[in-house]
């Protein structure tokens, strides 16, 4: 049986469709990954850092209305959390497809600067500390929520 011109065109069109599908799927591979995998060290490090901030706020609140609450007594805290943030960030940045977590850590670092500026001006009431503590808790929780989501049901 001889193929008509129309049959040939149809066969060629089907072959092209199949080729497009095959090339696309082959390019995608079996499973795609758009975000980095879960990292236990990041999880533990961020959790440990969050604990340090909790201890900081507890300590500052306890010392409010006394000279012990002044900024100069907490320079070590700011140095330490900056160093820890930097360590966590370097690890996060070394992992591919982890840009969102890196950006989140940068935002926490900016907030450490802002907190430090506030501290230099002086904390005057427990009510003033409340939204600050909430903001840092929220940030750490956000980072950890995303990290746990990276487990993808593992």
């Amino acid at each position: 049986m001889r193929h008509s011109g129309r049959d040939t065109a149809r066969v060629l069109r089907r072959a092209l469709q199949l080729t497009v599908v095959a090339v696309t799927l082959a390019g995608l591979g079996c499973q795609i990954k758009l975000v980095a995998d879960y990292d236990e060290i990041t999880d533990r490090s961020v959790t440990a850092l969050q604990r340090e901030f909790e201890l900081f706020f507890i300590d500052v609140e306890r010392n409010l209305y006394t000279p012990d609450a002044v900024y100069d007594n907490y320079i070590g805290f700011y140095d330490e959390v900056r160093a820890e943030l930097s360590v966590i960030r370097v690890r996060a940045a070394a992992r591919p497809k982890n840009e969102i977590t890196v950006e989140q850590l940068d935002l926490v670092a900016q907030n450490v600067d802002n907190l430090e500026e506030l501290h230099k001006l002086g904390f005057e009431s427990p009510e003033e500390l409340e939204p600050l503590r909430a903001a840092f808790q929220q940030s750490f929780q956000a980072i950890l929520t995303l990290e746990l989501a990276k487990k993808r049901g593992q």
Binding site: R14, Q17, L18, V21, A22, L25, A26, L28, C30, Q31, I32, K33, L34, V35, I100, T101, E103, Q104, L107, V108, Q110, N111, N114, L115, E117, L118, L121, E124, S125, E127, E128, E130, P131, L132, A134, A135, F136, Q138, S139, A142, I143, T145, L146, A149, K150, R152
Partner: protein
């Protein structure tokens, strides 16, 4: 065996829609809870300033901290959304794996 593209596309769409529909309520609940917290914190900053307990300079620093915390939350929402898309694409590929592998004659997917 020929592949019917409309049929393949529908299988992929149905598989991916299920995953996205499953992920959205969790993302939505998270976003709602977090923005409520942010709103409460901002309201407190306004109250403290009105009560004379925060100077303008301090209020601005407080707000900057809240904004950065909100940005961190939004980034998590973005990340969760991307993971949902990833799962949807993988579900779509999984749905057509047998059809495509049979049609092409080897394990492509």
């Amino acid at each position: 065996m020929a592949i019917r593209v409309p049929s393949l596309a529908k299988q992929m769409l149905d598989a991916s829609r299920g995953v996205l529909e499953e992920s959205w309520p969790e993302i939505k609940d998270y976003a709602k809870a977090e923005f409520k917290k942010t709103a409460e914190s901002i309201a407190m900053i306004v109250r403290l300033h009105a009560a004379g307990k925060l100077t303008q300079k301090k209020a601005r620093l407080h707000l900057e901290i809240q904004k950065n915390a909100s940005r961190t939350v939004l980034l998590t929402i973005e990340g969760m959304g991307i993971i949902a898309v990833e799962r949807a694409i993988n579900a779509a590929l999984g749905a057509v794996r047998d059809t495509v592998n049979t049609a092409i004659g080897f394990r492509l997917i």
